[in-house]
């Protein structure tokens, strides 16, 4: 393997990891507030189709992303009303959202199947893209990839260093205590779920506007589920999600690259790497009681009703 090829592979890993990064960043914020949303795949597909329709109709990829964000937000609101307001089971509602989104996106997208659009073009960042290796790998992408970098660092700061982050974690760890000190638990959770929806929408738009600039049914092909595994893999840390997304991205293209080089490793074996890694992390987390910091938010998946005090 020469160095050019390695650069190409890492470049592709960042590209492949970006949709995972967007959606997992949204999901981690959602989970940190104590809400498990399994509807990622459905929100992502709706984002992808609406983003594509908007970009196709207006000719502007930027408007496509905006529409996708809005759609993701609407989808997550449906979820939020059901689980937060009406206290529905989060797992069942999330699964229903995925099934709903998969079907509806196929339905509303049927008219534009086979159409193509001009997606985002790559923009090399001046100066930075001239750095050997790193420049090509990180700084010769499109605008969405750069915004995912910015988003990661902003979220790292907000979650770890600000009052907002503290509030979010308090709600996810112990909603009753948070409620007692005057935090509006449901409002925080609503916002967190909606943020998750917006990010899932962008992730979907990345698929249909950048990755493969076309709409086809089910084009996300399970990436919403991989993102859920990624959040566990990263043990709910924002910074690790970025690393994990690129690792998962790399794992998902590695078997293709190795085959091209003539290595006879079973592609199935390599394709399951992300899942194996997630299981390993789960085992490590559960094996050591002192690693409590790595655990899921304590109230994850549990409904909260402010009228019932614990």
């Amino acid at each position: 393997m020469d160095s050019d090829l390695i650069v190409q592979i890492l470049f592709a890993a960042v590209k492949t990891g970006t949709p995972l990064l967007f959606i997992a960043l949204g999901e981690v914020i959602c989970e940190k507030s104590g809400v498990l949303n399994l509807g990622q795949e459905g929100m992502m597909l709706m984002g992808a189709v609406v983003g594509f329709l908007a970009a196709y109709g207006t000719g502007s990829a930027g408007l496509g992303v905006l529409a996708a964000m809005l759609m993701g937000c609407v989808m997550s609101l449906i979820f939020a009303v059901l689980v937060l307001h009406l206290g529905a089971n989060q797992v069942a509602t999330g699964l229903a959202l995925t099934i709903f989104g998969t079907g509806l996106s196929a339905f509303i997208g049927s008219g534009v199947v086979g159409q193509t659009i001009q997606g985002f073009q790559p923009i090399a960042v001046p100066l930075l893209s001239d750095i050997p290796f790193i420049g090509k790998i990180l700084f010769s992408h499109d605008i969405l990839v750069y915004s995912s970098f910015v988003m990661t660092f902003v979220l790292m700061f907000v979650v770890n260093k600000t009052r907002i982050g503290l509030t979010l974690k308090a709600v996810g760890e112990n909603p009753h205590a948070a409620n007692a000190i005057g935090i509006k638990v449901l409002r925080v959770r609503y916002l967190a779920v909606m943020f998750g929806g917006v990010m899932a929408g962008i992730s979907g738009a990345y698929m249909s506007l950048v990755y493969t600039p076309m709409w086809v049914e089910n084009m996300t092909a399970g990436r919403g589920w991989i993102a859920l595994a990624l959040v566990v893999f990263a043990s709910w840390r924002v910074g690790r999600i970025m690393l994990g997304a690129y690792l998962f991205g790399l794992a998902s293209i590695m078997h293709l690259v190795l085959q091209g080089l003539g290595w006879s490793i079973s592609p199935n074996l390599l394709a399951m790497l992300p899942y194996v890694a997630t299981v390993v992390v789960m085992v490590i987390i559960s094996a050591d009681k002192f690693k409590e910091k790595l655990l899921a938010p304590r109230a994850l998946g549990k409904p909260f009703d402010p009228r019932q005090m614990a």
């Binding site: 592709a12 086979g114 493969t212 076309m214 086809v216 092909a221 293709l256 690259v257 006879s264």
Partner: protein
Amino acid sequence: MKLKSLLVSLGLLAGASIAQSAEPLKVGFVYVGPVGDLGWSYEHDMGRKGLEEYFGDKVKTTYVENVPEGADAERVITQLAKAGNDLIFTTSFGFMNPTVKVAKRFPKVKFEHATGYKLDKNLGTYVLRTYEGRYISGVTAGMMTKTNTIGYIGSFPIPEVIRDINAAYMGAKSVNPDVKMKIVWANTWYDPGKETDAANALMDQGVDVMLQHTDSPAPLIAAEKRGLRAIGQASDQSKFAPSAHIFSVRDNWTPYYIKEVQAVMDGTWKSQDFWGGFHDDMLTLASINPNLPKDVRAKIDTTLASIKSGEFKPFTGPIKDNKGNIAVPANHSLTDQELAQVNWYVEGITDEIPH
């Protein structure tokens, strides 16, 4: 008593045949991908629509799309049989065993399975000679490549795909003795994202002309982005990549579906193993790029003509496999039964077939 029962059964028969002529023939289709895949399943659905157009009220068709290969397929096929379909087409290799099972349970329903090789009294198979198209694709890719490296995106290592890889390689080798072929298995029939990854992995490694055995236009779009070339499969995919697209080998199922439905209506349907290709107009070269070099275009036309007339058959011996054994003896062309069982790579392909 005997006479009475005879009369009754005659009456029933008459009634049944009247009912039959009044009621449309019900035909069911099972697709592995979405009808909007613009590749394999899309073309089968075009065949189904062609059927409705041709027969009008005399047929009633139903289809189920996106059916996973495996246990789910058996459930779907059973449902179609229970719903009163008289003829059911299952259109992917992985539906073979489920179709065989269901066919046993519904002896009165007729089944046809695409690309398989298991027959029964009420189960026929139909196969496209896609290897003919791949051979021409290989010839073209071999002439067009500047890096002497062509790429092949495979789906699953089944005989159909392995046969086509061999055909493509033999075609390329026939015009370019230095050509190398890189093969990547995407392990999917349809996943635009994965197919894009596969295409990029190949192009990163010096491939400049790509063939695909997966169903989405994503590899063509990837090639277009990088200014390289690719050949479409199953349907006309030129609009996705106006400059990258060399041509598409298009499947055309309509004539076959019309023929089979007519046979069922006439009561002449028989279980058979049918193979169709360019000769039967079930394969065509769609949207050949007008900007191809003249010699390439001429070679495409002559190769197509010799395959179409039956004068040239790609799997004609002597052919060695890549372990040095004689795979096809001299003066022998593989029969359809032999073609259905190709599980070796031709000499010169350095890879191993994955298990």
